[in-house]
């Protein structure tokens, strides 16, 4: 029997080595695998290269991983946000490196890694600082820059539900980088709200087929859902509203 489920988040992140490249899903807080990141902090792997669209929000999740001093380098498109003070401080102190990649090139480079593409010509970034030193080429009258895949040792992502084969479905814009990061890593670890019996996910609506997934851990339902249905009643960070706010 194929069973990719693991009992807890510690088992899910076991074996991540110092110096590993770790992709972390999510766009801001949406889809960020916070429980897996917390487990990675507890696990303690250091000197990590982390690939994420951003560089952490507030003091939790990716920001906490940065604060723990476990990250040597960030590969991302948009580190500077109103609540990215942890990264900002480390960067100004020279304690973390930054490779800045336009968001669409970041997504396509991750997709290329999973799809076995050795490199691709993209029009994004041509003529800008972020294409300096890179090969460019005019094809059919348009200028392109050559970009290479970004691969990872481990991807940590979040989805709504999985079965024991690792088939995944996501929820709304929390899908974002999950499907492409799942395909780009040697080992893909997924936290989900719930694990459902094999056969419960309609083959037409599976977004990430199980062959991309190595470990699945259930972390329980988000506060704004009940039995998979949206019930509301939280702020944008997912904290339950006081009663008077929720009315």
């Amino acid at each position: 029997m194929i069973d990719k489920t693991v009992p807890d988040v510690a088992a899910a992140v076991a074996g991540i080595r110092d110096g590993a490249t770790v992709m972390i899903g999510g766009f801001g807080r949406a889809g960020q695998p916070v429980e897996l990141i917390d487990a990675l902090i507890a696990q303690g792997a250091r000197d990590l290269t982390v690939v994420n669209n951003n560089a952490g929000n507030g003091d939790t999740g990716l920001a906490a991983l940065l604060a723990a001093g476990q990250v040597r380098k960030m590969i991302c498109s948009f580190p500077r946000q109103s609540d990215s003070w942890v990264f900002d401080g480390l960067y100004r102190d020279g304690k973390v490196e930054l490779e800045l990649v336009p968001q669409g090139n970041l997504a396509e480079r991750i997709r290329a890694a999973g799809a076995g593409i050795g490199g691709f010509f993209t029009p994004t970034g041509v003529g800008t600082h972020l294409a300096e030193g890179k090969e460019t080429r005019r094809i059919d009258g348009r200028d392109y820059v050559l970009e290479y895949p970004i691969r990872a040792d481990v991807s940590l992502i979040s989805a709504r539900a999985a079965d024991r084969w690792g088939n995944l479905v996501y929820r709304e814009t929390a899908r974002n980088f999950g499907p492409i990061m799942a395909a780009a890593a040697e080992t893909t670890v997924v936290q989900v709200d719930e694990i459902v019996p094999l056969g419960w996910l309609d083959p037409e609506v599976v977004v990430t087929p199980g062959l991309y997934v190595d470990r699945v851990v259930a972390v329980g339902e988000r506060p704004w859902l009940r039995d998979g249905e949206f019930i509301g009643g939280v702020d944008i960070e997912g904290r339950p509203l006081a009663d008077e706010d929720a009315s």
Binding site: F27, N53, P79, R80, D88, P102, G104, E108, E172, T173
Partner: protein, 212 residues
């Protein structure tokens, strides 16, 4: 004094040029305002690059869904007809030329249509580009929405950008608080001037020759 329209009036002016059926990405910041002025009753499909078409307005009080956000990480809703997709698919839509219009902010736009809107190039600043470079090349028409001049009175429509570029030759039209300008092979062409603004006044504010 020249005539300047407000930010809200400018958003409404941009909105009035977007036809029914258009697929539109509104950049973070001022361009987001355009959504509030899209003509009622017309179906315009909003794209948000974090993975959704058919984006609706902000949710009601108490109905914020943290899984459903826009590129500015603000809560939004989904309209009937919406679709979700992953990041590579989302940027493929832009890069592949499937969006009709992107509306973006700018530090500078050059007469050749170059856009600078992601970095002031200040030493020591933490750089962040996000989807700016993808949006710059990401639609059949790239509209810029900006003041004509900086707060310090410097022109934002320039012969050549001095700030780091976001994209080369990518802007098709600039909506400013003083007027609307098309980018043509011959440089900026006046499309509309607000109030009593004259061609000569704008040329002298910019220090640039403008086509008619």
């Amino acid at each position: 004094m020249t005539t300047r329209i407000s930010r809200a009036e400018l958003a409404a002016r941009v909105a009035s040029d977007i036809p029914e059926g258009a697929v539109v990405n509104l950049g973070i910041g001022a361009p987001t305002l355009v959504a509030d002025y899209l003509p009622e009753g017309l179906e315009i499909v909003l794209h948000t690059e974090n993975g959704m078409l058919g984006m609706g307005p902000a949710p009601e009080r108490g109905r914020v869904d943290p899984d459903l956000i826009n590129a500015g990480k603000q809560p939004v809703t989904a309209l009937a007809g919406a679709a979700y997709f992953h990041h590579a698919d989302s940027f493929a839509m832009m890069r592949g030329g499937h969006l009709d219009v992107c509306v973006l902010g700018a530090f500078q736009v050059s007469a050749g249509g170059d856009l600078a809107n992601w970095s002031t190039g200040e030493p020591g600043a933490i750089p962040a580009v996000g989807g700016a470079m993808d949006l710059a090349i990401g639609a059949k028409d790239v509209y810029v929405m900006t003041d004509l001049l900086t707060k310090g009175g410097e022109p934002k429509l320039v012969a050549a950008c001095t700030y780091p570029l976001t994209g080369v030759g990518c802007v098709s039209r600039v909506y400013t608080d003083h007027g609307v300008f098309d980018v043509t092979p011959d440089g900026f062409r006046v499309r509309e001037l607000f109030g009593d603004n004259t061609h000569g006044e704008i040329e002298s504010l910019l220090g640039l020759r403008l086509e008619v």
